[in-house]
């Protein structure tokens, strides 16, 4: 049984229809890349799966582990093991990264009937994951994402993912704004977290990230639909010919023309 099954998903923001019938099945352990030009609906798909209320689902169905995902509030989705690495991680002044992450982890563990971590256990866990992401201790004691550089924010997202150990991770443009060294570190962290029970959806505009996180499947999104699916070689093909090679024009421009 697939971990995630998206059937004919339609969603809009305001009056604008953005997803126009997505179909996708993700099995445990698989990494799926979602590519597409600006405005094709990649980030919307990520946000809809996480439960952002800004987007209204108008048709379709999403099953997660056999359950109706769209009926769950965002916090329940997180507690059931869905993790979204944000394209723009949010700053929360006054709340330390450590405190935040401990609260999150314990809420999730409680939901899954696991024992909550005490301060000592949590610290040990965090130290171990910090090494993985080459994070500095200082970053943990600072308020969540506040005053972090772009690279630190992205690294912090993957660090959180490492601590929360989701079953389904959705990475929304995790590569944007990263220089090549930061990209390597972040991708290294993601790869270390790949395992047969964990699925990933990697949303990206560029093929570059997929050199480091090699997907099992690649899907190309255009005008809110998957127009082409294939193996990892599809990403390389796109790199050669561009989206135009598939007859897709940049959709923000297309919208602008209308």
């Amino acid at each position: 049984m697939p971990l995630l099954e998206i059937k004919d998903l339609h969603a809009k923001v305001g009056d604008r229809e953005i997803l126009t019938g997505i179909n996708l099945a993700v099995n445990p352990g698989e990494v799926h890349a979602i590519m597409g030009p600006n405005g094709s609906g990649k980030s919307t798909l990520a946000q809809v799966l996480a439960g952002r209320e800004l987007y209204v689902v108008t048709a379709g169905e999403v099953l997660y582990d056999g359950k109706d995902l769209l009926g769950m509030p965002p916090e329940d989705r997180a507690r059931e093991g869905i993790f979204l690495a944000f394209q723009y991680p949010v700053e929360i002044p006054g709340v330390s990264n450590m405190y935040f992450l401990k609260a999150a982890l314990n809420t999730i563990r409680k939901h899954q009937n696991l024992e909550e971590y005490d301060a000592m256990d949590f610290l040990n866990l965090v130290r171990e994951k910090m090494k993985l992401m080459e994070m500095e201790q200082a970053l943990l004691n600072r308020p969540v994402n506040t005053g972090f550089s772009g690279g630190e924010k992205k690294r912090n997202e993957i660090f959180q993912m490492a601590v929360l150990e989701p079953r389904l991770a959705i990475l929304d443009e995790t590569d944007s704004g990263l220089d090549i060294d930061a990209l390597r570190t972040v991708a290294g962290g993601v790869n270390a977290l790949r395992n047969p029970n964990r699925s990933m959806i990697v949303v990206t505009h560029y093929q570059r990230l997929l050199n480091y996180i090699v997907p099992d499947f690649v899907h190309v999104l255009s005008q809110g639909k998957i127009v082409k699916s294939g193996g990892k070689e599809l990403a390389l093909e796109l790199e050669e010919s561009g989206y135009a090679g598939l007859g897709i024009e940049d959709e923000e421009e297309a919208v602008a023309k209308v």
Binding site: E75, P93, G94
Partner: protein
Amino acid sequence: MSESTNTIETFANQEYKWGFVTDIEADAIPRGLSEEVVRLISAKKNEPEWLLEWRLKAYRHWLTLTEPTWANVHYPKIDYNDIIYYSSPKSKKDGPKSLDEVDPELLKTYEKLGIPLAERAILAGVAVDAVFDSVSVATTFKEKLKAQGIIFGSFSEAVQEHPDLVRKYLGTVVPASDNFFAALNAAVFSDGSFCYVPKGVRCPMELSTYFRINAKDTGQFERTLIIADEGAYVSYLEGCTAPMRDTNQLHAAVVELVALDNAQIKYSTVQNWYPGDKEGKGGIYNFVTKRGACRGVNSKISWTQVETGSAITWKYPSCLLIGDNSVGEFYSVALTNNYQQADTGTKMIHIGKNTTSTIVSKGISAGHGQNTYRGGVKILKSAAGARNYSQCDSLLLGDKCGAHTFPYLEVKNTSSQVEHEASTSKIGEDQIFYCRQRGISSEDAVSMIVHGFCKEVFRELPMEFAVEAQKLLGVSLEGSVG
């Protein structure tokens, strides 16, 4: 409306839990204010002639004053002749001598409020003076404190037992003529707390006063006077609640603190008067004058306040930094929800050399709440080398509330340093969503963000009360975020 907006609203709409009325017979005087009323109150308290004269002088001066209008608050005109100026729970003629004589109904009230009046207080390590409407009903630990020479009890008692001390310090920090509400208080104040810590004594426990307004249409006018003699230290906390009533009630208190050479006073307030209902009906008008004088060298006065209640708060706990090297501090969290209005802040008057002051103000506005910080830092010519640091942060929940900051700075010499920082932020839908995506519910997210915002101030509260204050903040905000 998105769910996170709803949570903000639910968070803000939590009910006031202290709104019950105690059914107790009260000895109240007729409504209205006149010289007769002032004389009557003084007579009821069996006061010496000098105190009656002091009150009458204040009353006559009050008649010449008009209510101040400069604060950023709006309310219908108060009819000062429609207020009952004195009300006390009826009991044995001379008042209770010990806890056993206190009306059980009263004790039950304080029990409901979680105030450990009886011997349970021992466990809490807090000495409590409880003021119900106009009179002080019980003081715990009095004997233990007495052994160290510390005087702690009701103001009325102090007038009888230590008239010289009272006379020496009363009105020396907040003169009877200071302002409209202070003059009114001086004329009709009914009770309050008095504390004197002798030379070199470090008060071994937190002292605490609990104020409760119970009777309908009464005003509460308490007066607190705390003196820390040379080298003394005292930490003092006051808490306040009132029943839910749909008319507004007036609370006009005065607090005076005196710190002599090397003395330290830490004064903390958790104010939770009834704030009125969701439509802004009822609630306490909290018009309070609080001031401390650092008279001695190296003395220190520190105000910490958590203001979550009252329909209107008008309050500026201030420090007169007279002694060289003296230190004034003001840490404040003020929360306004629904239709609450707060105009609060502090004044730091630097007079002595090398005096320093720190101001940390955190204003939280939710619902239709209006929150104003008003602060004055005045550095006189004599205050060479003085330093001030002010930080005023505002947090907005929702888009119908307001935050306002009015800092006044006046520096009269060139060797001083003044720093002011201010910020305004809003709990955003994106922050709430980020937390929810990590498994944290919207309510927990708001409370986490608000607590993070107030951390610097809570740190200053005595431990026992910091926990209380956090809970109170949670309750006062419940329903305000979604």
